[in-house]
């Protein structure tokens, strides 16, 4: 039995709290590990921040962002679909993890964290849409 959660968000970071609340309720109802749900909440923060900040030529206009989560009993997966500029988060360079405190840049970390936190991340451009999907299994000690 596969459980799904679908929401349409506006390109406004205030929407992250609505998604987080829905995700938390859904995860609890489906018996999904809360730590895994929190990792997805973090990933959504990074991805939505990136879309709302950089995806649109007219960021003040309202745009729809489709979010879908799927739980098959073993893996939690999610897809975020936006109609912004083509952007492949997998092509972004990794930050310089060896830089010292003074040299360390203050940006570029968010999508790196998503790539590190998830077991799988995939991107494809689908006509006018960016489709970013990612998946992770619960940590072994939680199973």
């Amino acid at each position: 039995m596969t459980a799904t959660l679908q929401l349409t968000l506006k390109n406004d970071m205030a929407e992250h709290a609505r998604l987080a609340a829905a995700l938390s309720d859904w995860a609890e109802a489906e018996g999904i590990d809360p730590g895994l749900a929190t990792t997805f909440e973090l990933a959504f923060d990074e991805i939505l921040a990136n879309i709302t900040s950089y995806a649109y030529d007219d960021p003040d206009a309202e745009h729809a962002i489709e979010v879908a989560c799927r739980w098959d009993g073993a893996t939690l997966s999610a897809e975020v679909v936006d109609e912004g500029r083509p952007f492949d988060p997998l092509a972004a360079p990794d930050p310089d993890l060896e830089a010292g405190l003074e040299e360390r840049a203050v940006g570029g970390l968010g999508l790196f964290l998503v790539r590190q936190l998830m077991d799988e991340v995939a991107y494809r451009r689908d006509g006018p849409r960016n489709r970013l999907s990612f998946a992770k299994k619960p940590a072994a000690e939680d199973q």
Binding site: T38, E46, A49, L101, G110, Q116
Partner: protein
């Protein structure tokens, strides 16, 4: 985000409760900047009640570390939950910032 402050051994202990994410980070940034300015010896961030830290929160801590260094003050993080500690490690921030197991270790 709930932010509380108290003085311990000349250090300002700032306790955060909630999620350190894109929405809450600006509020924490201004509180931290003010605390680093006012603190006698420096600032300890108690993160025991922080559920997760996104890159926006990491940025706040990086700026805190840089600001403290420029002012020759202490800046320490304490009580990170395992999932939060993992994010600090992944990003290499565990090597850039002083991280202590708890507030007692950070203020002692």
């Amino acid at each position: 985000m709930e932010i509380k402050q108290e003085n311990r051994n000349g250090l300002t202990v700032m306790s955060l409760a909630g999620k350190l994410d894109t929405v809450s980070s600006p509020e924490v940034q201004s509180a931290l900047t003010a605390a680093l300015e006012a603190a006698d010896k420096g600032v300890v961030i108690d993160m025991a009640e922080v559920a997760y830290v996104s890159s926006a929160g990491l940025r706040v801590m990086l700026i805190g570390g840089k600001t403290a260094k420029a002012k020759d003050k202490a800046f320490r993080l304490a009580g990170l939950k395992p999932a939060v500690a993992e994010v600090f490690k992944m990003s290499g921030f565990d090597r850039l910032l002083e991280i202590r197991p708890d507030v007692a270790a950070a203020t002692g």
